[in-house]
Amino acid sequence: MKNEIKTSLGGKTIALLAQSIINGLITGSIYALVASGYSLIYSTNNFMHFAHGISVVAAGYMVYWLFSLVGIPFYVTCIITVILSAIFGLAMYRLIYLPLQKKGASNVILLIASIGILTFFQNVIQIAFGSGVKLVGYIEVSKGITFAGVTMTLLQIVILIISLIIFILLYQFMQKTKTGRNMRAVSNNSELASIVGINHIRISDISFLIGSALAGVAGILVALEQNLSPFMGTNLMIKGFTGAVIGGINYVPGSIVGSFLLGMAENLGILVLPSGYKDAIAFSMLFLFLLFKPNGILGKKEGRFDK
């Protein structure tokens, strides 16, 4: 009798842990989509593009507008949204960052500019759509599939699968293509990259295009999973940034792993802390990593040959 209770409690605890880990993976996959684009842009451009957060939110609202309001079919909406996100990112680079760089602006100035862009467009969205939350509701909130005591909704499974596919494609692109290799080269040693003939502006263009397209995908998934509100970009950006710092901000696979770890830490943390502490967990991790391990878990040691 006693033994039975023990095992059933143990089983429950394990199921609870498993559920938290699964929830962490799902949260983490959205953070990872934000973080991978962010760190792709950071690693090739070396400045903090915090306006990346607005690419995510703008994509979410784009889905709401095109699909829920205008009534364009969902898959068409997704394609348009990803393309427009990429162009939006490129426009930020070409119309704001690059002209500033040409005037000799430091990376701190570019960081301030990026916060300006973020704030500006958050307010534009508020004026256009109002400050109330918006719901896309494409996939009905279904009851979820329960397996071995762990429940996942269809939407969550879709989110997980889509993001994993995207990360595999991104990795292949970075490792196997000429452009991917050029991007790694710029990130490793940008001066030498120019010396061997790599056109830095072209690489920046591509990093903003791809990074912002990833933000577009993140925005679509966020729109499906959560309510949209104009100022959610700041929080998403902080989470993506934290994930990137944990894994290694200069190294795209690192930032992906870090984001999954962050998602799991948040969801495991609220097993023992009140759920309002989710953000506090993220902030504490950000703080500790910046302080003690600024290169992150997988961030490459410089390993450079300095003569």
Binding site: A185, E191, L192, S194, V196, G197, K300, F305
Partner: protein
Amino acid sequence: MLDIKDLHSGYGELRVLKGIDIEVGENEIVALIGPNGAGKSTVIKSVFNISDVTSGNITFKGQDITSLKTHEIIKLGISYLNQGKINFTNLTVRENLTIGADQIFDPGTVQDGLEKVYTKFPDLKTKENELAYTLSGGQQQMLALGRSLMQRPSLLLMDEPSLGLSPKLQQELFATIASLRDEGISMLIVEQNAKKAIELADRTYLLEDGNVVLEGGKEILENEAIRNVYLGGRY
């Protein structure tokens, strides 16, 4: 083939070169010597348009290249072996070698070049899939030189290629450099060892504080100023 006329150049507000004239002829090895901070690297950076040229002219094979972009200059057949971080440490040896040639040639030409470099430096072949930071100092230098050669330059700009190498490796490097001339490559070499530089080069320029203060062939080894200042001490 390279003709630098009255070049003023620097970084932002900082004026480094104060009107210098330097010439590199067809199939010639020209050395650039001088104390730290004299502006030797800045000469090369100016040719490659990665410093701020304020006035003067740089022509290559008769074409004005003063304001061409770096990647356009490379296409004309100039390659630059820099000082400092000379390789992409987190890329493989093979990626390091092909990356420069890839920017200007088709895959077949790149593959040809790769095989030639592997014949010249067999060590690199055995390490082809290792990340560059795992190489020794001498191998790093080979890797950087190999990458430059794969761009098939007719003019090679080298910034202190012998720095950090053992005397034996330096000897090998100078032999390699001499053999490159036989392959028809002209060179402008910055070298901290003045004696070695003068012996190696057809002509040598001495740069001090952004000005050319002396120019000549091997006879300047006998020059009083050179003997006292450069051949006695560190140089």
